[in-house]
């Protein structure tokens, strides 16, 4: 087990930020910690890294107790913090080299690692820039490079891709996958469910410091009652068809607004064909028609009664 957290309780005054949290990250996996703002992701990471005191619980990393002076453990950990932590007086290259050098003494090896990190976050054109001259997204990419350049066995990333544009984000996610394939275990937090779905092998959904559910994305989706969501663009839907839909036992919820019909089927029922036949029988002109499988947002919605996204 790379990370093992048991019964972790962390309070800030009266606020319980982590409520008896259990968490296991196994070697070789990309573990996603998914939760809305304030759910306790960052707090959990800070506890794991022994930066925060906590009221109760145990934390082991690489099967050893994590403490502030567990320097051998720290040697194997790379962290991308939620807050950008770079030095304004150092260039992009120097920043990465500096942080990498805290872990890697060998100069030649460091040079190569720094270059790989620069490639990963695609900052080649900006190596001589000072952080003040970087845009928000570029700065985030530098922050990532500083955290992972030494290519540790365990990488912990706290919402690393906030403010990063889609193309660079894809680059970074691919890079993370590569680091993972090269042997790194990754703990990844985000409130972007697409990201988590795209790269994580296992996901934990967190809300108000409590674990809602843990599993692969398929497992998570299988736990909820909703099935596919069907969207049909259709003008002037006759009332008898609406009535028909309302009484269809396979449809959990539906909504017709602005010429768009959204119907959610309960799990296991494939109602697209039925629905289209119903439309055809009334010779309705259909616009776009598409079907979506449930997302983690749906999972979150059903489990907590609120949206994951703001």
């Amino acid at each position: 087990m790379v990370i093992r957290v048991r019964d972790l309780v962390k309070r800030y005054g009266n606020l319980t930020a982590l409520d008896h949290l259990d968490l296991d990250v196994q070697a070789g996996e990309i573990f996603g910690l998914l939760g809305p703002n304030g759910s306790g992701k960052t707090t959990a990471i800070h506890c794991i890294l022994s930066l925060l005191t906590f009221e109760q619980g145990t934390i082991d990393v690489f099967d050893c107790e994590m403490t502030p002076d567990a320097y051998e453990l720290k040697q194997n950990i790379g962290v991308v913090m939620q807050n950008v932590a770079v030095f304004d007086e150092l260039t992009v290259y120097d920043n990465i080299d500096y942080f990498c050098g805290l872990y890697i003494s060998d100069k030649a090896k460091r040079k190569q690692l720094v270059q790989e990190a620069i490639d990963l976050v695609a900052l080649n054109d900006f190596v001589k820039f000072y952080p003040k001259k970087l845009s928000g997204g570029l700065l985030r990419r530098l922050n990532i490079a500083c955290g992972i350049a030494h290519q540790p066995r365990l990488i912990i990333m706290d919402e690393p891709t906030v403010a990063v544009d889609p193309q660079s984000r894809n680059n970074i996610l691919e890079g993370i996958k590569k680091l993972n394939q090269a042997g790194a275990t990754i703990l990844y937090t985000s409130h972007y469910m697409e990201e988590v779905e795209q790269i994580c092998s296992r996901i934990m959904i967190l809300d108000k410091g409590r674990v809602i559910r843990t599993g692969t994305k398929e497992e998570l989706k299988a736990t909820i009652s909703l099935g596919e969501k069907i969207t049909i663009e259709v003008e002037n839907l006759p009332s008898h068809i609406l009535e028909n839909i309302k009484t269809n036992p396979h449809i959990a919820t539906f909504d017709y607004d602005d010429h768009v019909l959204v119907a959610r089927f309960i799990r296991g029922e494939n109602g697209l064909v039925d629905l289209l036949e119903l439309m055809n029988s009334s010779h309705l002109q259909l616009g776009r028609v598409y079907s979506e499988l449930p997302t983690l947002n749906d999972v979150f919605l059903e489990l907590t009664g609120k949206e994951l996204r703001d």
Partner: protein, 383 residues
Amino acid sequence: MIAHILKYRLKCFLRDRQMVFWTLLFPLLLATLFNFAFANLGQIDQYVQAKIAVVDNLAYQQNLPFQSVIEFVSGTSEPLTTKLFDVTFTDAKSAQTLLLNKSIDGYIELNPKIQLVVYESGFKQTIIKGFLDDFVQTETVLTELIQNNPQSVDEDMIELAQVRRDYLADSSSNQANTNPAVIYFYSLIAMTALYGGFWGLRVVTELQADLSPQGARASIAPVHKLKRLIIEIVAALVVHFAIVLVVILYMFGVLHISFGSQWIYVILAAFAGSLMGVSFGACIAALVKKGEGMKIGVLISSTMIMSFLSGMMYHGIKYTVTQAIPALAWLNPANVLTDAFYALYYYDTYQRYFINLSILFAFSLIFCLLTYVVLRRQKYASI
């Protein structure tokens, strides 16, 4: 690893333009102002030894009291520097010539009243005149003394001359620094050294996870905290001491302030002061909780109070404190630092100076250890 961290921290600190600018600019500005203000005061060390001629005529030969006074203040029995006057005995003609080609500041001729002849009026001339007026004022008394008790003449003369000399040559018995303005520049160097506190503050801020994201990163790095702290303090000290050196060089090279043969001691004291300043700032930053603004506030106000109590703003305070509460004087690092400089100024020996320096190094050690003790408890209740 050590060289790596040192190299990049030096780079960071040197490029911290704002900090370098302010810690450098303010002392340079003050030094320039001081220099301007003390431009006239600077002449004191030249007049301390006025060159005079005494016309060796019959009237002089007959005025025994005056003769003994002149002999005393120009006496060969004492080292040259402690003499008030450098006296040449000559005839009236040559005295005039000497005065015209400015070899002397004035000459005294008795006819038989004592007369001072000067060519221009300046500080030295005022001193000579003051000396003569003083003599004339007491002449009556002296004459009586001579008539009643000729044996006591010498002693009384010596006493009289002694008082005058002490008054005039008060500045120092120490040959290197006869210029009283130097003491203000010493204070300024001490103040610049204390600015090191800001660097110490930065060091600690960037080492603590609850103070900065950089601190969080430092806390998760596999580098021992004590090692890390020492390297960072060294880097800050190097940069800060360089700034202090620039200030000293400016005083020396541009303002032509002479520290005499003591420049090496001045630099050593500046180093000890810089180390104390940096570690003091680090310690304050570590001990004071509640945000950066609070830390800066406490640092500035404590430095101000210490400087004030050490007489850097109003000189008299230093002696009041030293006399009223001696312990406070020794427990105030700023006072120990200024005292090291004053020791250079007032004393011939370096004993007091080195005692002060040892205390400064002890303070620095204590400040660093306190900082480490706080940093070592690396877990925080809230980040």
